[in-house]
Amino acid sequence: MNLNLTLIGQLIAFTIFVIFCMKYVWPPIAGALAERQKKIAEGLDAADKAARDLASAKSQIEEELKQARTQVTELLEQANKRSSQIVEEAQDKARAEAEKIMASAQAQIAQDAAQARESLRADVAKLAVIGAERVLGATVDQAAHKKLLAELAEEL
């Protein structure tokens, strides 16, 4: 256990190793570590943000779906209402048309009947006149018996 030059040698070697470590070992590693720390922090932040975005997007989707659903029910209801309305309208229209046709047909029938009755009456009057002429053997003065004839026709 002698103290000797080894002491100085060790001191020099120690100094050299420390300087080497200080210049070429520590800075790159410490730099890389700091950079990685930053990257990880950024990554975690980004992940947090993405999770928040996802949650908000999900709730938005939920909301929109709900809206769409209510819209659909509304539309369906409207359509149903509209269709029944259309059917009703068509029925009404058809009914009115039918009544109208019926009414005009009845009017026509009444008119025809009246006409027939009228012509029949005229014919009867004529026949009555002819009959009377045959019976009387003379001509019935139309104008003189006009009133009589009208009364007759009235009675038929």
Binding site: M1, N2, L3, N4, L5, T6, L7, I8, G9, Q10, L11, A13, F14, T15, I16, F17, V18, F20, C21, M22, Y24, V25, W26, P27, P28, I29, A30, G31, A32, L33, E35, R36, K38, K39
Partner: protein
Amino acid sequence: MALQNPTPSEYIQHHLTNLTYGYHPENGWSFAHGAQEASEMGFMAIHVDTMAWSVGLGILFCWLFRVGARAAHAGVPTGVLNFVELMVEFVDKSVKETFHGKSSLIAPLALTICCWIFLMNLMDLVPVDLVPYLFMAAGVEYMKIVPTTDVNATLGMSIGVFLLIIFYSIKIKGVGGFVGELTLQPFGKWMIPFNLLLEGVGLIAKPISLALRLFGNLYAGELIFILIALLPFYLQWFLSVPWAIFHILVIVLQAFIFMMLTIVYLSMAHEHH
């Protein structure tokens, strides 16, 4: 001088002697043959084994961490980079907990101390006879492979730390502040000699305790390994395995303590009282 059937004390003596090259008063520049010659060489000698192993291990440390530093990137770390980053983060955390100033030196210094001392201590777990006998077969008389069992190695490092303590004390507090710290407390200006003695001892004790703690622990550990190696072979594993397992704790702990105390001393040098 290969040992043929050494006595236990010769065996221990042999295993605790460094390979010394130096200036011997009689033989000139030469390798010392035995502890006697080595101590006769005085200060003008160098422990070749201590220097070679410690520098080799230091280069191993630098190479390993340089590989990691070259590969350093902000992506997913792999392989060597993983390990290197683990060490760097561990040291960085220790430094940040204790040292609150700003310094680009302290953290790399702590990393170097921690890893280098750990590697040097690790040589303690190599079987005590293996390397010395290999070298003996190659004609090298002594080979002590654990640099931290050489007080020169530990003292060399602690003196480096001591110089840094003085450097930072003066840099932060100025010469006046540093001298004032040594002389004007704890008892005010009328007790300057006493204060100087007290603070001076406190200051000198730092590197000495730093060096001797590490040296003592490893030297004792190595000595016990050597003593165990003297037992009959069927008893050796019974003692050396538990001791080696316990020593795994010791070598890490000693490296950590040296690093932490260095940080503490340097942080004290940065702070005003």
